[in-house]
């Protein structure tokens, strides 16, 4: 890639990029790693947007984003993402322009923009890097790797370098725990980080090599599909389920789904047939939404399902449209999986070509259904279905009050089916092979199989499709774990299972899970694990309700206090009291935010006890450190305070 000479300050024209390298079309279309006008402008001119040309340039960026994505509410996030990509932040002028284009108050656009982790109203680096701070990545040394990269590039974690070349920060789990530690650079995932890779990356950044020209093997995501069963093993041909269902009718399909016993794979386990039936029975403009916002730390099954089984997922959505009469569906893809956007769009195009999507589906006069993809921007709460709907609608993704539930009052207050990626994929196969075929696997209340995303201290991390009813011990046998401290099933919001409970089963009636299965070796520190999970909830709380907004932060402070060895028995009581408060929260995030703390407290009281001080009380902040500023300014380096 060669750049035209940059104009000097005061020259009349803006430099433009001559792209002579021939990007791979794949990179091109997504718009990754391309130097924009704004890039050049910021480096060559004043750092603020204050000149007429720079305002023009911002206007051009907004024009481009709006013409590419549209100005309906569901396009707001995409437009903001595009501007972020082109300008490396959301300049105020751009937000004003977006507000005008979308006919929204500026403050509302700001309110949406500021919510998401990957959108910024202050400039970020040309290379914007996020290390996953998921506990699994941290246990594979991601913190040291981040320090190393920061050191090489001479900046502090969380900061933007003075020349705006690079910014480095952390983000919640990036969905690569089977091949971590991982980072995202300008949206591109880089797995399997090593110190050598960090040094090479620093070198590429210093030399300003565009991300698109970095070695392809850095970005290679391995599949790790370690165990196949019903879902992963059954051959699939596009349209087979849909045509079968069309032939036999809605009643037949609902019967098959009922007979299959299929329940929501996101973890909550609501029977899929009933959800579709309720939605069908509610009059209105129906919608179908696929929740592909798998943000539960340690889970990555949707990554593979969307990579290799996308058509099956889309067919599942189309089946739901057939049942409910929906004409429009949305797949809400987590921002961390943006690299899947292009192949997913290709899969949609292919279905349209085959007449399996679009107008007059399968040649039927009155069957129209299409699917749009909405890409998230770094917010775990969007995995909560009503927050997800708000996000699609271009609102702040606060979870909604319930009742009403989405099935009667969902997207734009219309009846809406929201299902997990895995549920839709399973529904497609059920439409081909029937309910009994599916129900012959699993337990009485949990039919079929479950995809587990296994990560952590085991020989073979990856995706395991297991029959429901399998014990934790059996799963550990499959993935090759050694001596373990315990297993976190279902992510931080799930259950911490101690070795004494390894006979418990993966099933809705026992250990319900969205699929995350993190294995912790016996050398791990339980307090450290629980503290990191507490950190996750404090970071991801949406802030809508008092108990979760404040309670998750208080819980984190208490866990930090325990970790630093300052806590007393009273602090343990305080954690228990916070549990009661969190249970008064607005949504599931708050309701479950105490789980990792309470579960580990219950199973490992000794580990906690060993960290406690035998005192009535001890301060929760570093008293002596609070004198440091005054010590420095007065030169009285000998003056110190005891912590207690």
């Amino acid at each position: 890639m060669i750049f035209c000479p940059l104009p000097l300050r005061g020259e009349g024209t803006i430099g433009h990029v001559a792209d002579q390298s021939g990007f791979q079309p794949y990179f091109e279309a997504i718009g990754f790693g391309r130097w924009s006008f704004i890039d050049l402008l910021f480096r060559s001119r004043s750092l603020e947007i204050d000149t007429a040309e720079s305002l023009d340039a911002v206007a051009a960026v907004v024009d481009k984003a709006v013409s590419q994505h549209g100005t309906r509410p569901q396009h707001l996030l995409a437009v903001l993402r595009q501007i972020q990509k082109d300008c490396h932040y959301l300049p105020k002028q751009a937000l004003q322009s977006v507000a005008r284009r979308f006919s929204l108050p500026l403050a509302r656009v700001v309110g949406v923009a500021e919510f998401y982790g990957f959108l910024h109203t202050q400039p970020r680096g040309e290379y914007d890097i996020y290390f996953s701070d998921c506990v699994i990545d941290v246990f594979h040394d991601s913190e040291a790797l981040m320090q190393r990269l920061c050191h090489r590039l001479r900046l502090q974690p969380g900061a933007v370098r003075g020349d705006r070349r690079v910014s480095i920060d952390t983000t919640s789990c990036t969905g690569l725990c089977d091949q971590g530690p991982a980072l995202l650079v300008n949206g591109w995932p880089v797995p399997r980080l090593t110190p050598t890779l960090m040094d090479a990356m620093a070198d590429h950044i210093e030399r300003r090599v565009p991300v698109t020209q970095w070695p392809a093997e850095w970005f290679l995501i391995e599949d790790h599909l370690c165990r196949h069963d019903l879902l992963l093993n059954t051959p699939w041909r596009p349209g087979t389920g849909l045509k079968n269902a069309l032939r036999q009718g809605v009643g037949w399909l609902l019967e098959q789904l009922t007979a299959s016993g299929l329940r929501g794979r996101g973890g909550a386990g609501f029977p899929t047939a009933r959800k579709w039936q309720f939605c069908r029975e509610t009059p209105g403009d129906h919608y179908v939404v696929c929740n592909a916002d798998e943000g539960e730390p340690g889970t990555f099954k949707d990554r593979e399902l969307l990579k290799h089984y996308a058509d099956q997922v889309f067919e599942g959505m189309t089946l739901a449209a057939f049942v409910t009469g929906a004409r429009l569906g949305f797949l809400y893809l987590r921002g961390e999986y943006e690299c899947l956007l292009r192949p997913l769009q290709a899969a949609l195009r292919q279905r349209r070509c085959l007449g399996l999507l679009g107008r007059n589906l399968c040649g039927l006069m009155d069957f129209h259904f299409d699917i749009e993809i909405v890409v998230g921007a770094g917010a775990y709460i969007c995995g909560e279905e009503s927050a997800l709907l708000n996000s699609i609608e271009g609102l702040r993704p606060h979870p909604r009050n319930r009742p009403p539930y989405p099935v009667t009052c969902g997207l734009w207050n219309q009846p809406t089916v929201v299902n997990n990626v895995e549920s839709f994929a399973a529904a497609s196969l059920i439409a081909v092979h029937g309910g009994e075929w599916f129900a012959k696997v699993g337990t009485e209340k949990s039919k079929g199989t479950k995809l587990l995303s296994i990560s952590g201290d085991c020989a073979r991390p990856g995706i395991y499709e297991v029959p429901f009813g399998i014990t934790v011990a059996e799963v550990l046998g499959l993935c090759g774990s050694g001596e373990t401290l315990g297993v976190q099933v279902g992510g931080p919001a799930g259950t911490f299972v101690a070795p004494s409970d390894y006979q418990r089963r993966i099933a809705y009636e026992d250990l319900g899970t969205g699929g995350s299965f993190m294995v912790f070796g016996s050398h791990r520190d339980i307090i450290d694990i629980a503290t990191r999970f507490a950190q996750f909830f404090a970071h991801e709380s949406c802030g809508f309700c008092t108990p979760c907004r404040v309670g998750t932060s208080l819980q984190l402070r208490l866990m930090e206090k325990i970790r630093r060895g300052w806590a007393t028995a009273g602090d343990i009581q305080e954690l228990e009291s916070l549990k009661q408060l969190l249970e008064a929260s607005h949504c599931g995030l708050g309701h479950t935010a105490h789980n990792p703390v309470q579960h580990t407290l219950a199973h490992y009281p000794g580990h906690y006890q060993a960290r406690l001080r035998d005192l009535d009380f001890s301060p929760g902040f570093d008293l002596d450190n609070e004198l440091e500023t005054a010590r420095q300014l007065t030169g009285r380096f000998g003056d110190h305070l005891r912590q207690v």
Binding site: G570, P619, L623, T629, Q632, T634, R636, D639
Partner: protein
């Protein structure tokens, strides 16, 4: 044979002594108090260090290292420790400085501000080092009871004190709870 007298200690940390003034406002009831209580360390007695006490009353928040030491002395010597007034309870007016960086404050006041001659941050060992933030007392030691108000009224203080002297937990009626 008279009953053993209750020992009370009081102090003002990062406060304005307003709570002590309000304490004085119990007026003639001070005489009743003197019948049953002795003052240990207190601005009223000018005793410099605590002996063992039944009740300690702390006004003001914690803004420097000396406040921490005094508060700990109170906690170590008083069976019951009572935080009195807004500053003790939430830092109060002194905590308004928490929005400013301490380094910036000291630099402007002693090094770079208008009219500064001989720029130097005072470092005399007699001056306690400032904490980065002003903290309520309950963040530094365990507090048994709190009497809110700026200051709490004499009636509030009297109600709480008489309850404590009688061995009861203070129960303040609605009209005696004020935060201002």
């Amino acid at each position: 044979m008279s009953k053993k007298k209750i020992r009370i200690a009081t102090t003002s940390l990062a406060g304005c002594f307003g709570c002590h003034m309000s304490f004085m406002d119990i007026d003639e009831r001070l005489l009743d108090l003197a019948e049953i209580a002795d003052f240990d360390r207190s601005p009223l007695s000018d005793i410099k260090h605590c002996e063992q006490c039944d009740i300690g009353i702390v006004e003001g928040g914690v803004c420097n290292a000396e406040n921490v030491e005094v508060l700990r002395e109170f906690r170590n010597h008083c069976k019951i420790l009572v935080a009195i007034g807004a500053c003790a309870i939430n830092g109060g007016i002194p905590a308004l400085r928490n929005r400013c960086d301490l380094g910036d404050c000291l630099e402007e006041a002693f090094l770079t501000g208008i009219g500064v001659t001989d720029p130097k941050v005072p470092g005399d060992p007699e001056l306690p080092l400032l904490l980065d933030k002003v903290h309520p007392v309950h963040e530094v030691v365990k507090i048994d009871y709190s009497l809110p108000g700026c200051p709490p009224s004499a009636d509030t203080i009297w109600a709480a004190l008489t309850a404590l002297i009688e061995g009861n937990a203070p129960q303040l009626p609605y009209e005696l709870i004020h935060y201002d």
